[in-house]
């Protein structure tokens, strides 16, 4: 499996076009087993909209269901920008996006700029208690008409995360949990960490924001990876 991966990486570096063909060939061959699809049951994920990020995720994109944890040391480091393409496609499918107690006010003009229909966005107040927030998150994950559930909670015990994961699997929904701390034993299949990759003082690169996305844990990935993603294109 390592061989295939290496070869495809090399190809990517040299010719982008040929890589697509080879991927297609590999994908069409049912007898070939690929390491990067190990836990994804062979299903490809939803493209993130950032090719660099796709490359390091199992299934080459966001999982179709289940929980994703995104860890960033402070809010607002670009974690929502990563999800914007996904949100757009979910809204296009006619599903709803539920924001559970976001730390700041969700600003409609930005959503409209991103092409997200605000009629399909629902927000739970910040002052809902943690218990209620988790309850509604579980219910939302179980509901098929919710395509994406975003929640901001820190320090959730593994038992709770396991329950949310199960709910997400039954409802075929993707749940994203934003955290400021790494929880070690989380049962989520995917856990990403966002780090700042802006070198001090480099003004020319600052215009297009770069962040470093690291995979803390991914079911099906065999080594920790990280990549630089350029946001605000």
């Amino acid at each position: 499996m390592t061989i295939i991966r290496n070869s495809s990486e090399n190809l990517e570096a040299t010719t982008g076009k040929a890589c697509g063909h080879i991927d297609q060939l590999i994908h069409d061959n049912p007898y070939l087993w690929r390491g990067c699809e190990m836990a994804g049951q062979g299903s490809h994920g939803h493209p993130t909209g950032y090719p660099d990020l796709d490359a390091i995720l199992p299934g080459r994109g966001w999982p179709n269901k289940g929980m994703v944890e995104i860890v960033s040391s402070s809010w607002g480091m670009g974690e929502l920008q990563l999800l914007i393409p996904l949100m757009c496609s979910i809204v296009e499918q006619g599903k709803w996006i539920l924001w559970i107690s976001p730390p700041y006010l969700l600003y409609a003009p930005a959503l409209v700029q991103a092409g997200i229909n605000t009629e399909q966005v629902l927000v739970l107040d910040l002052d809902t208690s943690c218990k209620d927030a988790l309850w509604s998150m579980e219910k939302a994950l179980q509901t098929e008409s919710c395509g994406l559930v975003l929640a901001w909670q820190n320090w959730l015990p593994g038992k709770v995360l396991r329950r949310l994961q199960l709910a997400a699997e039954t409802g075929d929904t993707l749940g994203v949990l934003f955290q400021q701390h790494v929880s070690k034993y989380s049962p989520s299949p995917l856990c990403l960490e966002i780090r700042n990759s802006l070198p001090e003082g480099s003004q020319n690169r600052a215009r297009s924001q770069h962040i470093e996305v690291g995979v803390l844990k991914a079911r099906g990935n065999f080594r920790p990876l990280s990549t630089h993603v350029s946001l605000h294109r």
């Binding site: 499918q93 006010l105 629902l122 107040d125």
Partner: protein
């Protein structure tokens, strides 16, 4: 009225109810009931039924002064009163007409019925501060009764063949024709209905249309009269006294489940669904606990209602043990079923998830969290950044004009509820870490007319920890820097 068979036998021997004729009424022989009736063929039975109908008309000229909606409301309430003597009631302008023959035997004659009704109705009319008088008449046809009642004479006509002569004396005003038509009739020398009957039908039809002829034919029973009957509004109230007090609400659930089953049965039978019901838990010496189950989409699914109730129960604190429960349906809705598609596989876009399931989910959320915790957001075309986005309760959607157009300049996904003041040290901006401006300024000046002048220069900036910020500098004297949003 204990047993039907016994009753039938006894009826045959009962002397026919004597009817005192009114001013111009005729005493009639009621067709005697005998046991052979039951074995009679259906055709003959329906013939007899047609014969038997006797319509009692009540005419309320005093309602004419009220507006149409009020009239309708009053007539509905009067119909509810008339239900005590008849089951078939139809509405007409200013009048109620109901079938009375089937009730004659039970009440023991028209006099009893009339005195019973008169008391009820005049009481009701007095309660509305209207004159308590009304005219009434009885005849075998609906229109006939109506015309007789309109004439103001209280007439009782029991036989169809007598109807023509009774009606013939009435003036043409009772037909309530248009001004032009009544003038023409007057010019033709027609003063009462009898005069009309003397005219040739074909000529009449040519001059007045077939409507008039039809009406007169209906009145004397020559043409059928379809009517729409009054149906009392559905009501569902059930209550149950518990044999012992219950403190644990989960113990109540199976019991309420049973009543819900009754309710759903009731709804199914009436082809209705409900969108609002109230479950009251009664306590001793305390006021009862009311649980409002409001549904976004009318439902009659027992499972869904129970789920909602369960959700309510999880957050409910009762002041005392429950001694009784009561379920009242506040609002009935007609039932619309949604059929699934047979061939849904070939469809490329199964759009519109915003249906049943979402509504059920939202109801559940509202039941648990309360109405004001679920917001929908709206984009408003306003320059001032803090007013360009509103969060409304999910229930009061689309109250303000929302647009799907936004400014050209970058806007952050997150906005601070109140702008946070930034520190300036050694000529650099600080939040937690130093801030570098990236682009800008974008000048926003607005609300100069309202007193709270907004004059700001907006910049996109990054903090050295990587957060992308939306900051502004006030253009007023202080020239302070504020953080207003995060691009996240």
């Amino acid at each position: 009225m204990e047993e039907p068979s016994k009753e039938l036998k006894s009826i045959a021997r009962i002397p026919l109810p004597s009817v005192h004729s009114g001013a111009r009424g005729q005493v009639v022989k009621l067709p005697s009931v005998d046991s052979s009736n039951d074995s009679a063929p259906t055709a003959a039975g329906s013939d007899r039924k047609k014969l038997r109908c006797l319509w009692y008309a009540l005419y309320f000229p005093q309602l004419a002064e009220l507006d149409a909606a009020q009239q309708k409301k009053y007539l509905l309430e009067l119909a509810a009163l008339a239900q005590t003597v008849s089951s078939t009631i139809s509405f007409h302008p200013l009048a109620l007409i109901f079938e009375i023959r089937s009730s004659l035997r039970y009440f023991g004659g028209i006099d009893v019925i009339h005195s019973k009704l008169e008391k009820l109705i005049s009481e009701q009319l007095n309660a509305w501060r209207l004159p308590g008088s009304f005219s009434y008449s009885v005849s075998p046809t609906i229109s006939g009764s109506l015309l007789l009642a309109r004439s103001g004479h209280n007439v009782l006509v029991y036989q169809k063949d007598k109807l023509r002569s009774a009606l013939g004396r009435l003036p043409t005003e009772v037909l309530q024709l248009s001004k032009e038509e009544s003038r023409r009739l007057d010019n033709m020398g027609v003063r009462c209905l009898r005069d009309i009957w003397r005219l040739p039908a074909s000529g009449l039809r040519k001059r007045f249309g077939s409507d008039l002829i039809n009406r007169l034919n209906k009145a004397i029973g020559k043409a059928p009269e379809p009517t729409r009957n009054y149906q009392p509004p559905p009501a569902f109230v059930t209550s149950y006294d518990l044999p012992y007090e219950i403190e644990n609400l989960t113990r109540l659930l199976p019991l309420i489940d049973e009543f819900m089953a009754q309710l759903c049965d009731f709804l199914r039978r009436h082809d209705l669904s409900t969108s609002h019901l109230v479950v009251s838990l009664l306590h001793e010496k305390r006021s009862s606990t009311r649980i409002n189950l409001g549904l976004r989409q009318p439902s009659r699914s027992q499972k869904h209602l129970m789920l909602l109730l369960e959700t309510h129960f999880t957050n409910l604190a009762i002041p005392a043990p429950v001694t009784a429960i009561k379920i009242v349906v506040q609002k009935f809705d007609s039932f619309f079923s949604q059929s699934g598609e047979l061939l849904s596989e070939g469809k490329p876009h199964p759009i519109h998830y915003s249906d049943n399931k979402l509504n059920q989910f939202m109801e559940q959320l509202q039941a648990r969290l309360g109405e004001h915790h679920i917001k929908s957001i709206n984009n408003i075309a306003v320059h001032c950044p803090e007013h360009a986005s509103t969060q409304l309760d999910y229930t009061e959607q689309n109250t303000r004009a929302a647009t799907q157009q936004a400014a050209q300049n970058p806007r952050p996904l997150w906005l601070l509820a109140t702008p946070q003041k930034l520190a300036v040290r050694h000529g650099r901006l600080y939040r937690h870490q130093p801030i570098t401006l990236l682009s800008g300024p974008e000048r926003i000046e607005t609300y100069w007319w309202s007193g709270t002048d907004v004059q700001r220069n907006y910049y996109v900036a990054t903090e050295s920890n990587g957060s992308r910020l939306w900051v502004y500098r006030e253009r007023t004297e202080a020239q302070a820097w504020y953080l207003h949003g995060l691009f996240a």
